[in-house]
Structures are given as C-alpha cells and as structure tokens.
Amino acid sequence: MSAFLDNFMFSYEAVIFAVGINGLLALSMYAVLAIGQLSLGQAAFMGIGAYVSALLTLNLDWPFPAVLLAAMVVPAVVALIIGGPTLRLTGVYLALATIAIVEILRIFLNASTMTGGALGLSGIPNKTTVLLIYGLLAVVLLGFVLVARSKLGRAMEAMREDEIAAGVMGVNLPAMKMGALVVSAMIAGLAGALNAHANSFIGPNDYSFEHAVTIVSFALLGGIGSPFGPVLGAAILTLLPEFLTSLQDYKLVVNGFIIVVAVLYMPRGILTWRIGRVG
C-alpha cells in the first residue's frame, strides 16, 4: 500500500515539477516574444544550463545555489555571442541563428566525452524541490509584472507593435533586444538546471528543435498580453497529455496545430487580458 502511494506520489510529483519548469521555459520565451522577436534557441539555452549544472554538481560538487547561478550565466554568455551580430538585422536572423545554436549544441553534446556523448549524464542528485521551482517561478513572474508596469514594459510593447516607431520614441532598440535575449537565456538555463536536478538523467536529445517549438507553443497558446498567459499555456499543454493519455502519441501534432491556429485565428491566445503598462 505504502509502495503504491510512493509510486503515485512519484509520478504525481514529476508532473508538478514539469508544470513549473515548463512555466519557466514559457516565460523565457515570453521575454523575447514580448518585444517582437522570436528565438528558437530556448531548448539550447535550457540544455546548456542543464549540462553546466549537472557537470558542476557531479564533478566539482559545487553548492546548489552556485550551480544554479552558473547555469544562468553560461547561457547568458552564449546569448551575447549570437545576439551581437543577429540583433542588428531583421528578426528572421535571430530565429535562424538560434536554430543553429540548437544544432551545434546537439552535435557537440553527442561528440564530447566530457558530457557523456550520446549516453548523456546520469546519477545527478535530486536537489530540486517543488517549493524551489514554484518559488523561482513566482519570483520571475513578479519580475515580469513589475517590468511590464514601467517604462520598460511600455517600450517592450511598443517594439512588438512597431519597432520603427518605438525607436523614434527614444527606445534603445539594440539594448532592449540584447537584454531580452540574455534574460530569456538565463531563465531557460535556470529551468534546465532545475530539470536536471529533478530527473537525475539528461541526454543530448532532450534539447531538440521539437522541444524549442513546443516552448513557442506554450507562449502562443497562453497569449503574450501578460506574463501570466505563457505560464497558463505551459500548464495546459503539460497537463493535457497526462489526462488524455490517448493524446500522448500526438503531442507534437497538437502543439504544431496550436501554433498554426494561434497565429492565424487567436493572436492573443486564450488569456486575452492585457497587463497595464503604467507603474
């Protein structure tokens, strides 16, 4: 009986973890979408965070807070490297360059012995707790709400609506874009580290193009009128296959369908409420 309960708790806990971590990933996507850019590198930033954190824990035995910090800093540096050239160009370049990052990471992880090659890394100690995930999710969410209700929030929405007009308002476009990409990479890296220390195993194929697209679908389903939309979208798309198990095989079909419908017919997502931009 107790074994059954443990089992039940175990799978139940995994879903709770997943909802929170996907919520963070959705917010990392929101950071970029909110200024009218599209990054397909969220899966790569997540993967970098996951591997950096796992290696630091396994090999150097760093304390967990320091590990989490490193898992945010390293993706941020990668974001600076790809953001530098691409953010000066039209949005298409960022999207394509971030796809390239996903691919380079996959090739590197498969080839490198340090990261365990195709086998990945296992035996990562479980250090993530439900409280930690949701605490961090709440902190990040609050941060986005505070930013939204300020001159930065106004500048972000202005950029998404009309970048040229936003520039004429005096919005420092390159700085805003770089800031958004770096913040987005940090949140995704954090999510990756939390996930690695919740699952005990990570492999190179966990951070694929499909995963990157799935993160986009979280944000588009929820809507990006406020930071709450993407979190809601992530929760729905994470829980839906759990309840409708027949959906599990068609998860990617559903995610793809959601993106198409959202862009064409529901550009505001399901949470259409728009957050005010005055502090």
Partner: protein, 300 residues
Amino acid sequence: MLAQIFQQLPQQLVNGSVLGATYALFALGFTLMFGVLGVINLTYGFYFTTGAFLALYGTKMLALPIWLALPIAALLTGALAVVVDAILLTPLRRKKAPELSSLMVTLGATLLLYSSMTAFFGTEIRRLPPSVINHAAIALGNARINMSQILILAVTASIVVVLLAIVRYTRFGLSMRSLAENAEAAELMGVNTDAVVRLVSFISGALGATAGVLIGLNFNAIQPYMGEAMMLKGFAVIIIGGLGDIKGALIAGLVIGVLEALTAGFISSELKDAVAFILLIATLWYRPVGLFGRAPVKRA
C-alpha cells in the same frame, strides 16, 4: 601520410561537390521563396520529404521509371506548396502581419506536418527499389563517381542556369523582382501579385521535391524527418549565400559540401555536421549580408 592525403583528395572533392550540389539544389527553392515572398517558409523542408516519398511510392507501388516519377513528384509537391501557402501565408499577407507571424505559423505547420507523417508512416528508413538507377561507378583518375551523383550535378547546374535566366530575362522574372522590391508598388504597376506568389510557391515546392528525390536516390534512405535535417543545412546555406541570392546559394552549398567532405575525410566524421553551423555563425559576425549580398533592408 601526405601521399595518402593526396591520393584521397580527388575522391573527397568529388564527394564534397556532390554533397554541396545537393545542399545548393535544396536551398534554391528556399532562398527563392524568401527572396520573392519575403518570408522564411519553414515548411519547405517538408516538400523535400514529400518529394522523396512520392518518388518512392511511384517507383515501388506503380513501378514507374525514375525519369517519370521525379517530375510527377515535383509537380504534385509544387501543388502542395501552393495550397500550404494559400492556407497559412496568404491570410497573413492580407492582414499585413509582421514577418515573424509568418515564420511562426510555418514553424507550427512544420511540426504538425512532420509529426502527422511520422504517426502515419513511422520513422523507419525506406529504400527505393535497387533497379531504379544504375549504381555502377565510373572512374575519374583516383576518384569514382556514380550515376545518381552525376545526375545530381547535372540537374543542379541546369536548374541554376534556368532559374537565373528566368529571373533575369523573362517577364515573369521582372514581376518576381518587382514583387520582391515592393509588393504594393508591384500591384499598382499591374503585376498580378497573387499569381506570382502562387507560381513562386509552386516552383519552390517542385525544387524542394526534386532535391528530395535525387538525394533519396543518392543516399537511398528515405524517412519523414529527412527534410528537417536538410532544412538545418538549408538555413546555413541561405544565410551564408545571402538571403534570397540564387548564385550565393549555389556557391555556399558547394563550399559547405566540400568542407564537410574534407572534415569527414581528414579530421573527424563527428564534427562534419558542425562545419555548416560554425560557418553560419562566422558569417553572421563578419558578413551578415552573405557572400555577395546587399544589406538586408528593413521594410519601413
């Protein structure tokens, strides 16, 4: 050691050129779509897969010869591309939605199409009947080249020539160029933009399918996700060559192909796939407009 390298070099160059020609062939339709329609259409990779599957069906089930299966696959896939454009992109064009909307809608569609196809066909690798093409190789000094490789080189070369001629010297080419410059102005000047959009989608789809059939023939491995792997290389080719640049795509494709073959031959086959992406990042840093490109102008 050195002697060995010299002995292998011709073969690596042949392999690299063929590989590069396939990249170029694939990227042509992709870059044409961007150049004229101004959108990155991510469903393009799916046309590659579709072409290969249609040729597989034609040769296996209907016992068609490859010279018939190839054009039929190209025509059908071209028609599919027109339909996909009409469903996904035409509404956004009407609404004058931002360019990222079209990127996102095709992103979703790509996931939808591939995963539906996988649900239907599975991911196992399928092969064309061995009889479709003569696999005997011809010796060229130290190197060997087979029929499907010659076919790829010949088809790529002729398509590039025809495409450049169409763009430069025909009325349709003029319409394409004016649409690429400014859709509204083109419309005012009497260009039937809807018709040009459809024709460009059709040609691109047909080119993608042609690449799929020929590459399926050369590697003799066909499965749903083949288009996605190719697509990633396609990004690299069109950015290095310059978005919308036909000649650039050809040269960038060849450069990547040869460098990949040399990397695989002399350094490490695991790093082969990284070549394109490292070149891509380097291009973005040092020459974001591509090899011969003009500055990518934002449409204000």
